[in-house]
Amino acid sequence: MSSRGPMRLGKNYPHPPSQQQQPQQQQQQPPSQFYQPTAPYPAAANNYAGDFGMPQPQIPPSYGGDFNVPQPPPAPSHNAFFSPQTAFYAPPSQQQMPSNQAMPGVEYLSNNPLFNVGLNVVEQGMKDFTGKTVNMLPNEMKKSISSIKYYFAVDQAYVFKKLCLLLFPFRPRNWSLGYSADEPVPPRVDTNAPDYYIPLMSAITYVLVAGLVLGTQDRFTPEQLGMHASSVLVWNIIEICVLCFTFYIFNVQSKLRTLDLIAYCGYKYVGMIAALSSYLLTHSLFVYRCSLLYVSLSLSYFLVKCLRLQILPDTGGSQPYGSNGNKRRIYLLLLVVILQPFFIWYLTRHLIVD
């Protein structure tokens, strides 16, 4: 029943009829991940700190799309210390508004009380439905859902900061990830944490911008959109498979999980959008190539800074710096970093005509 540190995935979801948590936390086999955690941590008996998907019964879900039976909205918990669950949901200031917990960022719609009533009814219906379907899933998928939910715990400030960071990472700053109770902190709190929102949205935006570029060249058909979307998916899959395979072959045990790697590989779509937009605005090949170069440079710098802390071992001074384990990790880091500009170039070059 040992739960491992950074890779500890969530516990069982409670069944909606029984409100109390399952007292017996059986150990599920973890989904096949390529990276083993560095050291196993002793299991805490009732430790729910790592369970991002299962809220404390007091905290109302405020980010939309929670799978539990809706609890009556209680007073928000004022934890003296920081815990990942409270940070996972909206900060307490937002929880004080009682009629405002349907979706984040839609506060302006709450002026009309009837609309709110309708929204709440729909939300309750959806939660019942999703609660039933989710509880039919096997335990493995519930764990995956809870661990993926971690990556979607973002807010607007985080997205803005991250986008600025992706386009200009050259300022001196602290790149280390924040941890709380041996769990990585959700992205809402820590700007350095990886997320899935930006890669997903930027991939979709890339497909749309590619359609736009094709439209300006009179080459657009609706099938092109589908083709671009499927090739985005396929190239992502290929890239992740190649990287995971390389990690496995070189036997590199690092703190980097597969899910984190997927997030870091998804950040290149922001650069692609920037390069394509610059081409769209100016229709000049020179501007496109300059922006391609700049975007590649900044993305490489960003990835080196982020991944260096996760792939390379902590320099405890026990090993000499040029030993083989370190060399492999450095090569692996370079591989990850060099693949990204290559993909940026390859996925945009067919859209550019002289």
Partner: protein, 86 residues
């Protein structure tokens, strides 16, 4: 660029078929391994390149063991699809 999702599935199926068809004896004699080294390659960070080879061989062996039976089913299904739907 015209990648569809089906081509990924097809490529993966062909690769796994290739791994399943391998002849272990010839592979090992080509690699120069003795074939019965079940050493724990993962714990040793100072290993030169033997670790990579060991990992590769372990991967190949485990893929063959795991995918032997499901591969038959996948192949039959794929053949049926291709015959029926072109």
């Amino acid at each position: 660029m015209g990648f569809s999702f089906y081509s990924v599935i097809e490529a993966a199926l062909l690769c796994i078929n290739a791994v399943a068809i391998l002849n272990e004896q010839r592979l090992l004699s080509r690699f120069g391994e003795s074939g019965n080294q079940y050493t724990t390659g993962y714990a040793d960070e100072f290993h030169q390149t033997g670790g990579a080879k060991q990992q590769l061989l372990t991967l190949i062996r485990s893929v063959r063991t795991v995918m032997r039976v499901p591969l038959i089913a996948f192949n039959i299904v794929t053949i049926l699809f291709l015959v029926l739907f072109g």
